[in-house]
């Protein structure tokens, strides 16, 4: 196969609802069987994009193809070959685990037995509860059932809208492990999340905010787009230190970041260690005797915030 067709191409897709621009000329292209993340806050347009790609709503402008099929012309062919897990739990709570699976298989003209091999690694974890009503499952188990239902007809691409929202950290990690295995077996996956820490589990991510793509890259490369120098500041009185640093003349931005503060400034003509020393001296002289300042590599959240500021999208 020399003429490799990208499993997903989105070109300049826009969608508006009344005055609200949900998607503003979004372009994305998958490179084969990637685990591709759409990362951004609620209301950013992630769900609208999924609804367009699953042919549930039409874009106002732009083009898209899924598995080489045109969104407008090949609607029915796309539907048969896509596995979609919507953001809200969308299974039948009054049907059992197994009944849900059989139902979804039958809708796609297949059977649970035919799809079993593909879903087995996931389904086996909930199979002991196959007679339990889906509504009575824990969050982590519901999510595994929903993924099984999205996979049972052996789709050629998976579209998952915030599959890990509301699920505890252990189940989330298991779920991302499962997605990694599926991707390795050759299945392209597009998955959305509002949680920046999950972006590192993807091959590439698109950062999305207010309907616009801020950046597309490998997670480790996103940090390199941070425009300034970044430093981590540690000390006992974080909140007072934050306020003091905001008043420091050289500060470009100061944000709380877990149990640290992240401080950035524009100067590039001074060595990072020298800047760190200056900032530390400032904090020491301001009464924060235990303050420590070290240069750090920016992460996805740092870059996201910088790009939000640059695009004027800050709330």
């Amino acid at each position: 196969m020399s003429a490799v067709v990208s499993p997903l191409v989105v070109e300049g897709v826009s969608k508006r609802f009344g005055d609200v621009v949900a998607l503003d000329a979004v372009s994305i292209e998958l490179r084969g069987a990637e685990l591709f993340g759409l990362v951004g806050p609620d209301g950013g347009g992630k769900t609208t994009l999924f609804r367009i790609l699953t042919t549930l709503i039409l874009p106002d402008a732009g083009r898209a193809s899924v598995l080489g099929l045109d969104l407008l012309r090949d609607t029915w062919a796309i539907r048969a070959r896509v596995g979609y897990m919507p953001g809200r739990f969308s299974l039948y709570p009054d049907l059992s685990v197994e009944e849900n699976l059989r139902f979804f298989a039958s809708v796609f003209g297949t059977t649970l037995e035919e799809g079993y091999e593909l879903i087995a690694p996931i389904y086996r974890q909930i199979e002991p509860f196959r007679d339990r009503r889906a509504g009575a499952l824990s969050g982590g188990m519901k999510q595994k059932l929903a993924l099984s239902c999205a996979l049972v007809h052996r789709p050629d691409i998976l579209l998952l809208d915030e599959p890990t929202t509301g699920v505890d950290a252990v189940s989330r990690r298991e779920f991302w492990d499962l997605l990694g295995s599926l991707r390795s077996s050759g299945l392209p996956i597009v998955v959305s999340t509002p949680y920046m820490d999950e972006a590192s589990r993807c091959d590439r991510v698109a950062l999305i905010q207010q309907g616009r793509v801020l950046a597309i890259d490998a997670p480790e490369a996103i940090g390199e787009r941070f425009p300034d120098r970044l430093f981590a500041v540690r000390g006992s009185d974080r909140y007072a230190m934050l306020q003091a640093l905001r008043g420091y003349a050289r500060a470009a931005s100061v944000f709380p970041f877990g149990d640290e503060l992240h401080y950035s400034e524009r100067r590039t003509d001074v060595a990072p260690d020298a800047v760190a020393d200056e900032v530390r001296d400032f904090l020491h002289s301001s009464g924060f005797g235990d303050a420590e300042v070290v240069p750090i590599r920016p992460g996805i959240e740092d870059t996201f915030m910088a790009l939000m500021g640059a695009s004027g999208a800050a709330a």
Partner: protein, 258 residues
């Protein structure tokens, strides 16, 4: 001075199942405390006891200086509660929500007006005071819900996954509001599934199967476990056998297609 939250051997059984198993901890006044645990670890049961909604089987607890068993009504009057999803009425306006909650918390009309004005000014919500809450962006809703939970100046405020789903800048604005409240002496008790959110707390505890398996500053817990994030600490504790439920990438047990 008594701690803001003081818990000794707190236990709750349901039939033969021990949901909360003799937990002991305290939270200082003005502290931001993260109360963590996997689904089913006993967090919700513990919180219901702390806010006087569920009687313990044994043990004792005080919140804001009041005993949760004998003074449950006083406890409820001195706490605030915010859940990301449920704490505001979407069909009421910003101002109506403030008035409603002010009334529920027993404030007088003049107090409600004054504190409502101050709240709306602080959040720069002036233009939206007559808008329905359902029309506000999620980040504004969260900030408003938090401010409303503080309207009666409670000693302790309980926050359930306070910053889910918002952009990273709004999320930090929210944490600055939490820090500001703590700096004024309000004790903040946070539950969340998101361990990167828990990193913002002064101290955290992690519940596993009804017990507190770890407690300390995020840095202490990371150091003790030899890992760099609370997420890693959590997964180690919540799955002590270390057996992954899913095969790692690329192994022969990976799902096969066709």
């Amino acid at each position: 001075m008594t701690p803001a939250i003081d818990v000794h051997g707190l236990t709750r059984r349901f039939g033969g199942f021990t949901a909360v198993d003799a937990i002991t901890f305290h939270v200082e006044r003005g502290e931001v405390f993260g109360f963590l645990g996997a689904n089913g670890a006993g967090k919700t049961t513990a919180i219901k006891m702390l806010i006087g909604l569920l009687a313990p089987t044994s043990g004792s607890a005080s919140v804001a200086g009041f005993d949760v068993i004998s003074q449950a009504e006083d406890v409820r009057r001195h706490i605030g509660y915010m859940s990301q999803r449920f704490s505001l009425y979407e069909d009421l306006t910003v101002r109506e929500n403030i008035t409603l909650y002010g009334g529920i918390y027993g404030l007088g009309d003049a107090e409600i007006r004054e504190r409502g004005d101050a709240l709306i000014a602080t959040l720069s919500l002036g233009g939206a005071a007559r808008e329905r809450v359902s029309s506000l962006p999620l980040g504004w809703k969260q900030k408003l819900a938090f401010s409303v939970a503080l309207l009666h100046e409670p000693a302790v405020v309980f926050l359930d996954e306070p910053t889910g789903g918002v952009d990273p800048i709004t999320r930090r604005q929210f944490w600055e509001m939490i820090y500001a409240a703590a700096a004024r002496g309000t004790t903040v008790f946070v539950t969340t599934h998101y361990l990167d959110e828990a990193e913002y707390c002064d101290r955290v505890s992690i519940m596993v199967e009804g017990r507190i398996a770890a407690m300390g500053t995020p840095e202490e817990l990371e150091r003790e476990n030899g890992v760099s994030t609370l997420d890693d600490v959590f997964v180690r504790l919540a799955r002590p056998d270390g057996a992954p439920a899913a095969p790692p990438d690329g192994t022969s047990t990976a799902p096969r297609r066709r």
